[in-house]
Point group: C2
Chain length 189, copies 2
């Protein structure tokens, strides 16, 4: 049984797909962004992680930054980053809430038992380059909101399944979740 699609329907589908693609990449072009941006208008995503929100405030693939990138991230109670490492510098400023930083070592074959640090609103901390770490909202009621600064974007992240996984077994995720969409658009240009 065959089905005939008329030219009008095909044109509609084409325009629909083009419109969706254009919308998805609207925030990917550095030249298209105004110089001063309202942070509330910057697209946020959860990238499949419930209770998580990420916005790239100033980014490499989204705004043409070459040396630094700034993120705004919100973790609802009980949520956390994966255990991961990267060779870039990273500075956190805690805007709201409280939680825990777990910090492993890069000096042995695996991260080992991580050191535990309390993080809280109006605190700041930097992750030593290449040290595996995890940021957790350990509060029961309040969101944890962070401003995150990294060097040498876009970030190249190595993800660990647990603290005993060998460093060499950690899996590279590149481009990282929030860079994927714009990275693809860039590849096509």
């Amino acid at each position: 049984m065959s089905r005939v699609v008329d030219r009008g329907s095909l044109r509609f589908v084409f325009l629909l797909v083009a419109a969706i693609a254009a919308d998805a990449s609207a925030h990917c072009s550095g030249s298209g962004s105004p110089l001063v941006r309202n942070i509330s208008d910057i697209p946020q995503g959860n990238f499949g992680r419930g209770g998580f929100a990420h916005a790239t405030i100033a980014g490499a693939v989204s705004h043409g930054m070459k040396e630094v990138e700034v993120w705004l991230q919100t973790f609802s109670p009980g949520t956390h980053t994966p255990i991961h490492r990267h060779s870039c510098e990273e500075v956190f400023v805690v805007l709201k809430g409280k939680g825990t930083l777990l910090l492993g070592s890069s000096s042995f074959r695996d991260p080992g038992t991580p050191q535990e640090f309390h993080i809280y609103a109006n605190s700041t901390f930097s992750i030593p380059v290449n040290d595996p770490h995890q940021v957790l909202n350990t509060d029961e009621t309040e969101d944890l909101q962070l401003l995150v600064v990294i060097s040498r974007p876009p970030v190249k992240v190595f993800i660990y399944e647990d603290w005993n996984m060998h460093h060499t077994a950690a899996k590279l995720k590149f481009p990282y979740y929030w860079d994927e969409e714009c990275f693809h658009v860039k590849d096509e240009l």
Copy 2:
């Protein structure tokens, strides 16, 4: 006329000078800082500029950062940065207040008449590399508070007297005011 200073007095003066020097450089050593820091405890200075406060939240000469540096700056009504440029990237996040960004061009022999941008709480903006710029608190009552991110610290700043000064005449200030104290301590090590 000669004056005799006894050994006890000399020892007191020596200890006093040593104590002042130790206090002044207490925040200069990266290894001496705790990993998680309360931003309110980080030393602030005005560096001779009335109505201005600067704190280096994570810095090169103060905390051993190599690729990024983060500042917290507060401008009281009517105060502003000098007109200046730098070759590093710079991202601003406006935490409180409102004001004006003036942005000149690096394409001609002088910055020329700057473009004017309104900046406001919860907005973000990046300065194009090497473009002369000035940030002003143009509000009459409220402080302007900014989180500032730069790449390749410590910052090398070229200062302009006005918007018509040739780029080649702008004066290099290095180390910059808030890096001077720790920079000297570092030189001695």
